[in-house]
Symmetry: C2
Subunit: 571 residues, 2 copies
């Protein structure tokens, strides 16, 4: 591997992902040998004040992203390699996997896409030691089975004795010379190699030796392998870290949103248009699709910037993994598919957050308002899932103008995973093109001194709240209507004041299951304010039907809001 410790961010550097993250001590030991960590630092392993965690995280800044949930490394490596291919870098990306790990389907997803994109600078290594944590792997030492799989998935495959350093050097040389396809090195190894008492035996996974056993084990290793002290390693120089933070995208402002008041535009389409517009201002934006670009409207970006569009096919886990890889290289990925199917990659998103990834995820077809396609296609838990992600941002605009402006802010955000929720159907434009929006903002659409209830809506339900407003006003009942387009963070000060002004009576209404969504977010934020709250949400398992039938059935429409307002007024 080429890695210039003096220039850790050099694009000439090779990349390494330890997908089998539980082998972290080996990784830290290697950095120690490279002179980056002192022996004293190395011995802080797994302790509270150490950056050397039990599984790799970028708290140790030579690690690009977190690993430790198995099967995600290859897709991250594919993203890094794709970036190198795109930028014309000569660097290689290496991903070390365990043999148990490759039973994760996500590995084969990533393998197939790496082959599709001919990522010949991506080199995988499977450490085939036959033993998983609790049992033997399915394949055991059947290296030819692994080879057949890798070749069927379009990879060049090489087998090697993983303990023979000279042979390893040779196969890595061959792997680097390969053109037109990625290479998988199938390294046959023995777990516990070099320590006779445990070599190749079960029940030693992740177990430390006792103090009594240690001298014998060290003696055995010392006899068998090169003594590190003889290697004349460079002096440790870890002191120059931490590495610089990734730079935020150079600020830009889009021209006014190209929509007229009352025009009907689906927010998913405004997303595609906004992303294409943003693409003019920064080449760091990369759009990733899971083969629904004509539904999410990512295709608008593709048409304008085909070279910055990555088709991941129906492989959401790989789409997110590649996005993480691209983000480690300074790109701003926008990964989009149906919100319902982003659930497929939740583990990857969770790990991306632990890996301090800055990226954007876009889920279309939110809620029962998609209609006839039925519950399997409806994102109804996505807010709950994304809210629980550390440092996440959740935006859920109701119209094209707010979507357009928020996408521009997403492209320029510099911390955490930003999730945008879009709606299938066309909704009327309610904001003027020069209206300002912010992450952590909200918009008060109706408010007067006579308001007796504050209705907090987002996305599709904003229009139901506005309809309820109209009908109630005829009866001389007035309500505040808030478009809570930023669900995390919430615009707490404005919301608290508006709720207080409406006599602390609140209704939340959302096209989402009741758990973990807008209602619970508001409820948690206002809990100490002695509010009277009704939470309207999708309480019943939905089905196929027309959007308006389903919104009625779930009681998240204007009629349900009116009834809730009338109930709250009696309190």
């Amino acid at each position: 591997m080429h890695f210039d410790v003096e220039n850790p961010l050099s694009p000439l550097n090779d990349h390494f992902i330890l997908s089998k993250g539980h082998a972290a001590p080996l990784l830290y030991a290697a950095w120690h040998e490279r002179g980056v960590l002192t022996e004293e630092e190395l011995l802080t392993l797994r302790s509270f004040n150490s950056v050397l965690e039990g599984h790799p995280t970028p708290r140790f800044p030579y690690i690009p992203t977190a690993t430790g949930s198995l099967g995600i490394g290859l897709s991250i490596g594919a993203g890094i390699a794709l970036n190198g291919q795109h930028e014309g870098y000569a660097s290689y990306t290496y991903v070390l996997m365990g043999d148990s790990e490759v039973s994760e389907g996500s590995v084969w997803e990533a393998a197939q896409i790496a082959s599709f994109y001919k990522l010949d600078h991506l080199i995988g290594i499977i450490d085939i030691n036959r033993l998983g944590q609790s049992t033997q792997t399915m394949e055991g030492y059947n290296l030819e089975d692994y080879r057949a799989k890798c070749e069927a998935f379009g990879w060049h495959a090489l087998t090697v004795d993983g303990h023979d350093v000279m042979k390893l050097v040779e196969v890595f040389h061959q792997a680097k010379a390969m053109r037109g396809k990625p290479t998988m090195i199938l390294a046959k190894t023995v777990k516990g190699y070099g320590i006779g008492s445990i070599e190749g035996k079960e029940n030693y996974h992740g177990k430390a030796f006792s103090k009594e056993e240690l001298p014998g084990v060290l003696h055995e290793l010392h006899d068998r392998f090169i003594n590190v002290a003889d290697m004349h390693l460079p002096e440790p120089r870890y002191i120059s870290l931490p590495l610089p933070e990734p730079q935020p995208i150079e600020p830009f402002q889009l021209p006014p949103a190209p929509y007229n008041l009352d025009e009907r535009v689906p927010t998913r389409k405004a997303y595609g248009q906004a992303l294409a517009a943003c693409g003019e201002y920064t080449r760091r934006i990369i759009a990733l699709d899971a083969e629904v670009k004509n539904s999410t409207y990512a295709e608008i970006f593709e048409k304008k910037f085909p070279e910055r569009f990555v088709q991941c096919f129906i492989a959401e886990q790989t789409m997110i993994g590649m996005a993480v890889g691209l983000a480690t290289q300074g790109k701003m990925p926008f990964a989009s598919t149906f919100g319902a199917f982003i659930t497929r990659a939740h583990d990857q998103i969770r790990m991306a957050a632990i890996g301090r990834t800055c990226m954007c995820v876009v889920g279309s077809h939110a809620g029962v308002s998609i209609g006839q396609d039925g519950p399997s296609q409806m994102a109804l838990e996505d807010i709950a899932l994304m809210r629980s992600i550390p440092d996440s941002i959740i935006l859920y605009p109701c119209d094209a103008v707010s979507t357009y402006k928020l996408v521009a802010l997403m492209a320029q955000h510099s911390k955490g995973i930003c999730y945008l929720r879009t709606t299938r159907g066309a909704t009327p434009v309610i904001y003027k093109a020069d209206k300002e929006f912010k992450i952590g903002g909200c918009s008060i659409l109706e408010q007067s001194a006579r308001d007796s209830v504050c209705v907090i809506a987002a996305g599709i339900t904003v229009f139901e709240a506005l309809k309820a407003y109209e009908q109630l006003a005829k009866k001389n009942i007035f309500i505040t209507v808030i478009d809570c387009y930023s669900i995390k963070p919430l615009d707490l000060e404005i919301i608290q004041a508006a709720v207080l002004a409406a006599g602390n009576r609140v209704i939340t209404v959302e096209d989402h299951y009741p758990q973990g969504g807008l209602g619970e977010a508001i409820c948690s934020a206002l809990c100490n304010q002695e509010i009277k709250l009704i939470r309207l949400a999708v309480y019943k398992l939905p089905r196929s039907g027309k959007p308006e039938e389903l919104m009625r059935y779930e009681e998240i429409d204007a009629q349900a809001i009116i009834q809730a307002v009338e109930r709250l007024q009696l309190v």
Copy 2:
């Protein structure tokens, strides 16, 4: 396919999973031809009062479970086929997939496990029409690539012209005759076959013809294919449905829990012991593991009932998919792995709920209290994820006795997905062996008339709350302590009363991110009670360290509770 419409639950019947659920109209049409649906019923497709949804769900009772999120059908089919193999049934299970769909890694995960278990009564069909929703597939019409992949994954593969019925009959015959491995039928087809204007063309995915186009299209089809009216189909008899509900497990009671007060036992171990004990009372329990049986303690069940233990290796999506398949056959699956890794299968769990699956999922290693392994291994969002699942039940016991008793209730529950959260470290037994627990219950551990705050804890934090109680009592400050072991449903009546009795001052404390967990559940439930609430949770991204260091860092320990009590007393 053998299917006796008169005996829809007969174990002799073959099974069919339409994994490419968007082809649902074809499935309904087939049931119409089989005489189960009238033409009038067929034409209710996708309408609100119809059971014929846009994607298949068991609201139409001939459909065993929901599909429509791609890539899940093969694992469900593998579960059904494994059940048949286990029970000695001669029936076959057929799974029809799209070609775009097989880019989902979950397909290859399932393929590999089906091969491992030699499920020769499982027959997959890939409908290779070359066109995805928005673009051509990676493989196009390269059938030999598909064959190489299937064979490398241990399957018998057969290619066929998918429009040639006689050849199809022949390959299905060959597939059924195959022994020792499952068969994949690679059917080359043309999208829109038989309609010249769209045959093999892009941009017709899921699009209906206009009224003007319809007569021409029907005419073309009529000329080319058998007229259904000439087929003398059986009379429709759908009226005899719905099918009987699955029977609950015959009730049983375990002997008293085998733990002594103050003994230290990890709840994960009590889970394994309880499951093994339950196994005596019903053979419907099947334990599934994702290769961490020595961590989750599922191995205790395996040792006792090896024939009812399914090793899924590190393939969580397939573990859940197979559990769903087993559940459709009347089994009570217990699928367990680290809670953090259950996130990998969230889409499958979401779909299982839409499919009305009754099963149990067990996540071990909850929260920062696992310690040194670091955040990738900590379940910190699992409650949020599982709460958002419709009809889910969430149990989070703190000690071995409560775990033991709750597992017995889980084994006998009859609706929805029941999630159990277990803890890594050994915790003291605080309940007597004859204490009663219930789904939807809680346990008041400390309460007096002098209580000024109600502390609601669950799992590991119960012990912190008890420590806080001890220390506060010395200062003459008294608190209620509730063990909220059932997080969904909550024991609302008891909790509301206890909170009211403590002056409506509440502290929730949980080893989980603040969103969607215990705190928000309580907050949502008590929102209208004018409470003063402090929610202690994992607000900071955790790291490696000792359990007690991490609980201190996250402020979910006794000290944090004491400080919160003191703060609330000033309110």
